[in-house]
């Protein structure tokens, strides 16, 4: 299955992936309209320290701890993609505790959100990958 992989060697720490992610999942058709005057809450996050930086988003694990830990059945695996049904999520944060990568997080409405490889929005190919100026984030089969 194609997954998002990160090569920290080429990550510039520009944070554009976060903004492209927030835009792709905003449901709006214009980046300015979507992101002007808001604090974004993206599903991909740059981790940085000194000169090292890299983007972290859901690894879509083969044996996902978040899915195992979900008490309401909101998280499930569909064709390898770990997706969330936000209508079922009760906001218990167990998945947040279980995920070793810190890639499940609450959205602005108190239920959880996570990277779903832009399969549920208009992004097409993951939007963070398209927006990365240095190919530090790639979407490929490995």
């Amino acid at each position: 299955m194609k997954r998002i992989y990160v090569n920290e060697k080429w990550c510039l720490g520009c944070h554009l992936c976060e903004y492209y992610c927030a835009f792709a999942n905003s449901g709006k058709d214009d980046m300015v309209k979507a992101l002007k005057n808001i604090t974004i809450n993206p599903r991909i996050r740059i981790e940085e320290h000194n000169n090292i930086s890299f983007a972290v988003s859901c690894r879509h694990c083969e044996e996902p701890l978040c899915v195992k830990s979900c008490i309401s059945g909101a998280l499930s695996v569909n064709d390898g993609i770990i997706s969330i049904n936000q209508d079922k999520c009760v906001g218990c944060f167990t998945c947040v505790l279980a995920c070793p990568y810190g890639c499940v997080m609450p959205n602005d409405d108190g239920v959880m959100q996570k990277c779903e490889l832009c399969t549920k929005n208009a992004g097409g190919q993951p939007y963070c990958v398209q927006g990365c100026p240095n190919k530090a984030i790639v979407f490929e089969e490995r």
């Binding site: 510039l12 944070h15 992101l35 000169n51 100026p133 190919k135």
Partner: protein, 502 residues
């Protein structure tokens, strides 16, 4: 010191209605132009630090930024331009030589743009390169002066002298590891290897990682002899002796100690932090006879298997100098015009020394033909080849191949802000700061170089086809394929071409 204040030449214009304060401009600017005012949640820019490199403009996801030329002005004066005045202020303030980089930007004539290419109509059919074979393969090196046959009367077709085989008559010109980054070098090396052409190490040695691209590498021996050793000479396809460079003929080089870090110090074989100073002349070359000695010592060291190139800047007596070089045993002469780029040069030298490459090429080719020694050497030219038409014109004027430097850097992302000497290249090219070098991913860079040369190759074939020519050999020195436009008699006679309409 308010007396030293000069209003910036360029202003950063931000469309606040589009800015989403993502801060990519701030994070990507090594000159610290942009900053976020957290209280107002608004981005501000300090244009006095801006070098106009467009990194922020290119990366802004909402296209909220543009850079404009300022309309701030001194009182209009055709003689004392704003630039001339500001330069005096700068030097009065510092007492220093003005530094600049990349090629001469002054409005001197560009002869490429004053030459037109021919095409066939009716009497000599043009050729469609998509349907018929079209040869761009080029061999550089000494050519036999007469036809030779073996004992059975068969033609001897194998060259006795070493040759460089290029699939297209385009090579990447000398840019040292030090003046440009590791990633820029890797991009050039990989592109040259994929394109079956050559790149040039410049004077700075060859990083150990790049020895594997050896068969597509030209190594340079210049006046500082940095990084030259037996393995270096043996690693390559050809050796270039650099006498001069188009951007700064007659002067040496100076890579500041701050850039001599880690691998660069190892590659140049000098201690960390020492200035790398290349003398103006080679102190062992004061005549053509001396040059001959170096040519042959390099040949001896490499068992006569590799062609030796001598690179000179285009200066007033270029034809006579080239004639000397052609008799020195060198296989290839490289001539660099006054528009050629550099990582740093004194502004006055860059802008006022040397001559246009078009005129230099025409006079060198003619001189070598007149003296019957054109076959002794191949002629490679550089110094602002901007597109495929420039190449076609250069070859028609008599060049065997061209070197491209600035165009190659543009393909890698350079925006010609001409601030290489600051060492803070935002595009990761002319810098050694790891966080900036990282911005040039060779995986992207080498493909862009391959794209550029491939596109130019297509265009060269189209133009050759239009002239009814199906091999680059038949175009070489074919000045009847060129006509001048807006040139005077003297210029036409130096270029050896007729005026349009003749």
């Amino acid at each position: 010191m308010p007396i030293d204040f000069l209003y910036p030449n360029y202003e950063v214009v931000r469309d606040q209605s589009r800015c989403i304060t993502c801060r990519v401009c701030e994070r990507q600017c090594a000159n610290n132009v942009h900053h976020l005012d957290k209280e107002l949640n608004t981005m501000f820019s300090d244009e006095s630090k801006c070098v106009n490199c467009h990194r922020c403009v290119s990366l802004c996801p909402t296209r909220a930024l543009k850079i404009v030329k300022t309309d701030h002005t001194f009182k209009e004066n055709a003689n004392w331009t704003g630039e001339a005045i500001a330069d005096v202020y700068r030097q009065a303030g510092t007492g220093g030589v003005l530094l600049a980089s990349m090629g001469n930007p002054k409005p001197y004539p560009i002869y490429w743009d004053k030459m037109l290419i021919n095409a066939s109509q009716v009497t000599n059919p043009s050729i469609d390169p998509l349907r018929e074979p079209m040869e761009t393969k080029t061999f550089l090196g000494q050519k036999p002066s007469k036809i030779e046959r073996d004992e059975n009367g068969k033609l001897i077709t194998k060259y006795k002298t070493p040759q460089l085989e290029l699939s297209v008559p385009i090579m990447f010109s000398a840019m040292s590891y030090g003046s440009i980054s590791y990633n820029a070098h890797e991009s050039l090396a990989r592109a040259a290897s994929e394109l079956k052409t050559f790149y040039n190490t410049g004077e700075g040695g060859l990083h150990k990682d790049f020895y594997r691209y050896g068969k597509n590498t030209i190594v340079q021996v210049a006046s500082g002899r940095f990084g030259v050793h037996k393995g270096f000479l043996e690693s390559c396809a050809a050796i270039e002796i650099k006498i001069g460079q188009g951007a700064k003929p007659g002067i040496g080089g100076h890579l500041p100690g701050t850039k001599i870090v880690g691998d660069i110090s190892k590659t140049r074989m000098i201690p960390v932090g020492t200035d790398a100073i290349s003398p103006a002349p080679h102190h062992d070359i004061y005549s053509i006879e001396d040059l001959r000695q170096l040519v042959f010592s390099l040949k001896e060291a490499t068992e006569y298997k590799k062609p030796v190139i001598v690179k000179i800047a285009a200066v007033h007596n270029v034809a006579a100098i080239a004639s000397g070089i052609a008799r020195s045993g060198a296989d290839i002469i490289a001539i660099d015009g006054y528009r050629g780029g550099t990582g740093a040069a004194p502004t006055r030298i860059r802008d006022n020394v040397g001559i246009p490459i078009e005129l230099a090429l025409a006079s060198v080719d003619k001189r070598l033909r007149d003296e019957g020694i054109r076959g002794n050497v191949s002629v490679v030219i550089g110094g602002s080849i901007r597109n495929s038409a420039d190449i076609v014109k250069a070859i028609a004027l008599g060049a065997d191949a061209v070197y491209i430097g600035t165009s190659a850097l543009l393909a890698l992302g350079c925006h010609l802000c001409r601030s290489c000497q600051s060492g803070k290249c935002n595009w990761g090219i002319a810098t050694q700061r790891p966080e900036l070098v990282r911005r040039l991913n060779p995986e992207i860079g080498y493909k862009r170089l391959v794209n550029l040369v491939t596109a130019w190759e297509h265009e060269i074939k189209e133009m050759m086809g239009g002239m009814g020519i199906n091999s680059i050999e038949a175009l070489r020195g074919n000045r009847l394929m060129l006509r001048g436009i807006g040139l005077n008699e003297k210029e036409l006679s130096i270029l050896g071409i007729k005026h349009a309409g003749e």
